[in-house]
Symmetry: C2
Subunit: 442 residues, 2 copies
């Protein structure tokens, strides 16, 4: 197999995984209407048993997710309200869109959330609430608890970040300062039937983490939240209203978030319709169709990009040298999201830097191609989704007078691959299930 | 499978790989004497055809490699001389050991090398030269070319390191300032038969890289060496004798190092008897015997330890969650050598830090064990070879009041695992084929 063929295959495999992550496709793959039956994953609902259907949601991809829902349910939708990021709209007929601030919530977000709360609260035992959740859904569904302002909530988050609190700890606090997060949207909908369709943008696909889990059981408590503030000596530094609420909660004066097994969650179905894992699965199927022996390393890879890239390169080298961990024609797939520690002032993104560092590692290997791409189509502040390299990339660059080490030192992967014509440009995909990386050895 | 059983298996698998890397075992596995036949790998030599047998060598493990050679050939050995690091001796009868400086060569090294040169030069067409090479063999076989002092050679290396020259570039220069490196020991032995037994401590096991390749063909030239000095603007900064020699060589006034296909190399057999790959192979066989499905990721993994550990942890998590890349009971094996960027002033080594970072990544996973160990038995400046962790390590540490993040931030892996009783202590093994890492999911 030539590098040209391998590159073509790699792009086909990437396309298959992007299709699986596409919000419209993701919903269509998991939700069907057949006559009176609404089929969601493995569950079936009789549409005639519902008096009303409400559609709510929040997230960058939620407008796109609503498109197939409208196509399937059409005029059966009683009313709908979804919060999206400015510009992330779609042409909807039955569902209202509210464009709001992200990543910093704004007044528009608060207003949109109010409308969502009204609809969900109105739902009764014979009603269905469809909830469309995607990445960004936390900031796009701001719902500070009574007595707490949005600013006080943000101030608290800022203090926690400054102390090095983990994202898990921050989420515990956030859920207990909110009226919707941590399963409280589901409680509000009870006793209506609630079906949440979820596009996951986080490692591990934990329901209580994605968009702070508005429809998922929450294991954390007010007491946990207080303990975290104490741990970082923030109890006297957070806004007094925040401290007062958490203390009242810990004394049992405020209702806890719904815990696993709670009756209020008994009519909830949470279904992940799009995720890095599903995108990786689709890549694997496509690679198998194309005749590759496939190996999925992991869908939860994080860490410093250049080191993770070096390890991918070492695996490629091993395939070439010893046929391990998988024999050629081989396609190794990994997912997740790495980080870049900026050292220079160049232009790039984590996926382009991944390809740049990988190019060094596989330099000289024949019939070896590595591709890395963000499923959102915009890698860092660039117009590319990622880049592709092979065993000759470093040499080709050198002939053009480009030194790969210099570009890596400057974090200037964009200009390196642009000069070689090896950027991947998909355009924004309006979805995000993190990144896909491929090693192909033909 | 319990964590206890998995840990026991992990240590058994590690032991099998250490045995494969043991210098005595490594030689015994690849070299046999049957009657008149000396069998080295796939080649056979008729001992009666040799008039004399000389044994030479250099490296930290070379004394131990000589033990089985003496046991097999005994009084057939005419004479022998091996340079070893101070203290790295063995009880030999026919072969002289010279203890010398490492990593900085010293006068003892020069004297030992002189003795080796005399023996090799004395060898004739009907003689056999056995050469035992292992890690450290470059510094332990100092042989500056005529007109160049050891100090001038070292000064040149220092200048190159200061300019950020690659190890490959430095080796090109070194070989052209030496009378033995870059295949020149083999040329000296010609027309005798030369058999080199090599214990590799470098990624990729390249014959021309291990100990600067005294018995391997060299593709680089005096012209290349000059170009490298020009590239870093060092031509006028290196000692004048160095510049003069390289320029004379480039004009063809000094013989080049032997190139691939050179007649002087026609009677050479180079055989790698120990390497990370062979150690990984042994680990794989043992794991299979113990009933694990095995997967070798790569034997050439480098990079920042904590990031590489995170990626190993992500693979463990994927095995638990989706049965990929290999189904349980799974044993994933990787080799190579990572680096640690020191941030704190704790005590540890790359293998212990690997286990520490991996423990965070696999926190909460059941029946999941990760082990990392240096095959030399001394990880960093500690008395441990490495450490072992499982999904409960972080929690166990917390109960003892030890915070894993704090220890990682301080690079204090030794004290973390010492407190938990999870250090691996093998004692110094007198060998080095880099590191072995295991993921076991039962």
């Amino acid at each position: 197999m030539t590098e040209t063929k391998l590159r073509r295959d790699a792009i086909q495999i990437l396309r298959a995984s992007l299709a699986a992550a596409d919000p419209v496709q993701a919903v269509k793959r998991h939700v069907h209407v057949m006559g009176d039956q609404l089929i969601v994953g493995r569950r079936r609902y009789s549409l005639s048993k519902f008096e009303r259907i409400f559609v709510v949601g929040a997230g960058k991809a939620s407008a796109a997710m609503a498109l197939p829902v409208e196509r399937m349910l059409g005029r059966r939708i009683t009313a709908g309200a979804i919060n999206v990021k400015y510009g992330h709209t779609a042409n909807l007929k039955w569902i209202e869109l509210q464009e709001c601030g992200h990543p910093v919530p704004d007044r528009a977000g608060l207003e949109g959330t109010q409308r969502i709360v009204e609809l969900v609260r109105a739902a009764q035992a014979r009603d269905l609430v469809l909830c469309l959740i995607s990445g960004g859904g936390s900031a796009l569904l701001p719902a500070p608890a009574p007595g707490i302002t949005l600013e006080e909530k943000q101030e608290t988050t800022k203090l926690l970040l400054g102390c090095g609190a983990t994202i898990h700890e921050i989420n515990v606090i956030r859920k207990h300062l909110s009226t919707l997060k941590g399963g409280q949207l589901a409680r509000l909908a009870f006793p209506a039937t609630l079906v949440a369709l979820i596009l996951s943008d986080v490692i591990g696909d934990k329901l209580d983490v994605i968009a702070s889990g508005p429809t998922a059981a929450d294991e954390s408590t007010f007491a946990n939240a207080l303990k975290i503030l104490e741990k970082y000596a923030l109890l006297e530094r957070v806004p007094p209203a925040v401290k007062a609420r958490l203390e009242a909660g810990a004394r049992g004066e405020i209702a806890e978030t719904p815990k696993p097994g709670a009756a209020e969650l008994s009519k909830v179905q949470n279904l992940i319709v799009g995720s890095n894992r599903l995108a990786v699965d689709a890549a694997q199927r496509k690679a198998q169709q194309l005749g590759y022996r496939t190996l999925v390393l992991s869908t939860s890879i994080s860490g410093e990009t250049r080191d993770i890239a070096a390890m991918h390169g070492a695996i490629a080298r091993e395939i070439v040298e010893s046929g391990r961990p998988v024999r050629r024609p081989a396609c190794v797939i990994s997912g997740g999201e790495t980080t870049v520690t900026l050292r220079g002032s160049g232009k790039g993104g984590r996926n382009q830097e991944f390809a740049l560092a990988a190019a060094i590692e596989i330099g000289g290997l024949e019939r070896t191609v590595i591709l890395s791409a963000g499923t959102d189509g915009t890698d860092g502040p660039t117009d590319a989704a990622g880049a592709v390299c092979d065993g000759r990339t470093v040499e080709r660059a050198e002939r053009k007078g480009l030194n790969v080490f210099d570009f890596l030192a400057r974090n200037d992967s964009y200009h390196f691959f642009d000069a070689l014509g090896d950027l991947l440009r998909t355009g924004p995909t309006n979805t995000n299930v993190m990144d896909i990386r491929l090693i192909l050895v033909g």
